[in-house]
């Protein structure tokens, strides 16, 4: 059987923070999530701030070990990878990242060439200028020679993100995590970068883990979507299903919260508003974490926590009132 690229089972990540003098509190950033990312898939993790999606990306990058639960990459446990120097080296080669802010993810004191040489130097891999140039070519920076000696402040935001992508691809990774890859970019550039990512995925045989809050953007690229709310997965399934037939009231609300860029539809169909704000991850409410904002909430939601259940093939939702909601 083919091993999953990423396999996570009941992964938790708690942070301890100081509150006041000698008092400590636990932030339950990720509170028991499970997901399977198959090779070649692009798996999107959607949620608002405080949902734990950024923590998930740190876990997937192996920058932090999970507090509990199992996290495996191609069948190998992250715990074992982190203690074995050789395994960690190989892991760092095969899992790469593109971050949200292209302005702060490139060292301002380095040239584009130095930035792209770095991965090769770190892993002591032979490289030459044609390899660096072809990387730039692949991310659409032509002619590459024109960019090699430039500093970060001498290129545009879109070009910076292209350089970040090129750096992530340099080591021919298997998995690339993209943390809000287009959030900081202008709308005309957003579309281009998105298309570039789609092209590169097939060209380099990549598996994507995309972290984003911009749901519509994912329509063109996502295979699977995991919707997170306050550290929990509340809905998970094939992207098509999630967009066409979301089951969880939060997912439905999230999808409808986006004003369409068209005054006719915008003014005819007023925004449905989900009242309230996401709960604090230090002190999440008992029961279903969404019950404080949910229009369908009943007593059972306030007391018991709903489990993910399969509503369609491979499509899971955690809600007690699925029938009411869908109607």
């Amino acid at each position: 059987m083919n091993e999953a690229a990423i396999f996570a089972e009941d992964v938790k990540k708690y942070y301890t923070v100081k509150v006041g003098f000698r008092k400590k509190a636990e932030i339950k950033a990720v509170d028991g999530i499970s997901l399977i990312v198959r090779e070649g898939e692009s798996h999107c993790i959607v949620g608002e701030s405080g949902s734990g999606k950024t923590t998930v990306s740190k876990l997937v990058l192996g920058l932090e070990p999970p507090t509990s639960g199992t996290l495996k990459f191609f069948g190998e446990d992250l715990k074992e990878i982190l203690v074995d120097k050789n395994k960690l080296r190989a892991f760092r080669k095969s899992v790469q990242a593109v971050f949200q802010d292209p302005y702060s993810s490139l060292n301002p004191r380095k040239t584009i060439k130095e930035i792209l040489e770095k991965p090769f130097k770190v892993h002591q891999i032979d490289y030459n200028s044609s390899i660096i140039e072809s990387l730039l070519q692949d991310v659409g920076m032509v002619p590459p020679q024109a960019f090699l000696d430039r500093y970060v402040h001498q290129i545009s935001g879109g070009q910076r993100q292209r350089v970040c992508i090129a750096r992530a691809l340099a080591l021919k990774p298997k998995i690339v995590t993209l943390d809000e890859p287009t959030a900081a970019l202008d709308v005309t550039i957003k579309a281009q970068i998105l298309n570039l990512l789609i092209d590169l995925k097939s060209k380099y045989n990549l598996t994507y883990v995309i972290i984003s809050h911009e749901l519509p953007l994912l329509k063109g690229i996502a295979d699977k979507i995991t919707v997170m709310y306050a550290g929990k997965v509340i809905e998970q399934g094939p992207a098509k299903n999630i967009f066409s037939k979301p089951h969880h009231p939060y997912t439905i609300g999230l999808l409808e919260s986006i004003p369409p860029p068209d005054p006719k539809t915008a003014k005819e169909k007023p925004l449905p508003v989900m009242e309230g704000e996401p709960p604090s991850p230090v002190n999440p409410p008992p029961g279903c974490r969404f019950h404080t904002r949910c229009p369908f909430a009943t007593d059972v939601c306030r007391k018991e926590e709903p489990k993910l259940s399969e509503v369609e093939k491979e499509h899971f939702t955690a809600c007690f009132h699925l029938r009411n909601v869908v109607q």
Partner: protein, 282 residues
């Protein structure tokens, strides 16, 4: 580790930053006098009896002599060597220590950082000059001791600056990106973070240099300088008696050199601040 100055247009920079131009002119003059001292005068600065008693400036003694017949001119220009030697060596030591300690403490945080903070708190809570005086009295007033003592008591405040810089830089995404690539901590500290710490450090080092000149002069003035080298501070102490006999030249010239060199270095710090600000580099 390299600092890229290649994309700074020197002509343009000098025209823009008046303080830099002025400071370079002053510094070059002083350096010239100091390095050429043995060609500019044939008199031994420390030797007494060139004249009998206090002599005002004349063609023989450009800056006059003191009450023991020492030549103020050769004392003053040889004094450049003492002042610059003390300030450059002590600053180098100070900054190297400060950068290393600040880098480690800032990058790793936690216990080492706590330790550094307590040490610096200790140093910063006691007046530094008094500590230096005590240390010089205990260990003896040789040039080497003065340099070491100056460095030991100066690094903590600069290390704090480095630490604060490192603290903000290490949170940037490009540091995370290097970690994802698999770069080691040492690699990240020295190749990614350090180049970004250097510009503020250059400014701090320049200020440290002028401070060292002042401290050395003050020690010598108090009679705690190395008696075997000509120091501006010691000439000032001599001037304390000479001034009553009308020997203004013994006070004026060393004081002028102290002021000019400190001013020049502070202007340099100012100018560096201008040109190293990334917003002004295009």
């Amino acid at each position: 580790m390299r600092l890229k100055l290649s994309n700074i247009n020197i002509k343009q920079t000098l025209r823009r930053s008046r303080s830099l131009t002025l400071s370079l002119i002053l510094l070059i003059t002083i350096l010239f006098l100091g390095t050429m001292a043995s060609f500019l005068t044939d008199k031994d600065p420390l030797k007494t009896g060139y004249s009998t008693g206090l002599t005002p400036p004349n063609s023989d003694f450009l800056m006059g002599t003191d009450q023991l017949g020492r030549d103020v001119f050769s004392w003053t220009i040889y004094g450049v060597r003492t002042a610059l030697f003390v300030s450059v060596t002590s600053t180098t030591l100070t900054v190297l220590t400060a950068v290393l300690v600040g880098l480690f403490a800032g990058y790793f945080g936690g216990k080492p950082d706590q330790l550094l903070m307590r040490i610096t708190d200790f140093f910063l809570s006691i007046p530094r000059f008094i500590l230096i005086i005590f240390a010089v009295i205990i260990f003896g007033p040789t040039l080497l001791n003065i340099i070491l003592i100056l460095s030991i008591f100066s690094w903590p405040s600069i290390a704090r600056i480095v630490r604060a810089e490192v603290f903000t830089i290490k949170e940037r995404e490009y540091i995370q990106a290097s970690r994802v690539i698999g770069a080691s901590n040492i690699d990240i500290m020295f190749n990614e973070i350090l180049p970004n710490v250097i510009p503020p450090m250059l400014v701090a080092s320049a200020l440290q240099m002028s401070d060292a000149i002042l401290v050395e002069a003050a020690l010598s003035f108090l009679g705690l300088g190395d008696p075997n080298v000509p120091s501006w501070g010691r000439m000032l102490a001599i001037a304390r008696q000479a001034i009553y006999a009308g020997g203004w030249w013994t006070l004026l010239y060393p004081a002028l050199f102290i002021t000019i060199s400190v001013l020049a270095i502070n202007l340099l710090a100012d100018g560096l601040n201008d040109i190293l600000n990334p917003k002004t580099i295009r």
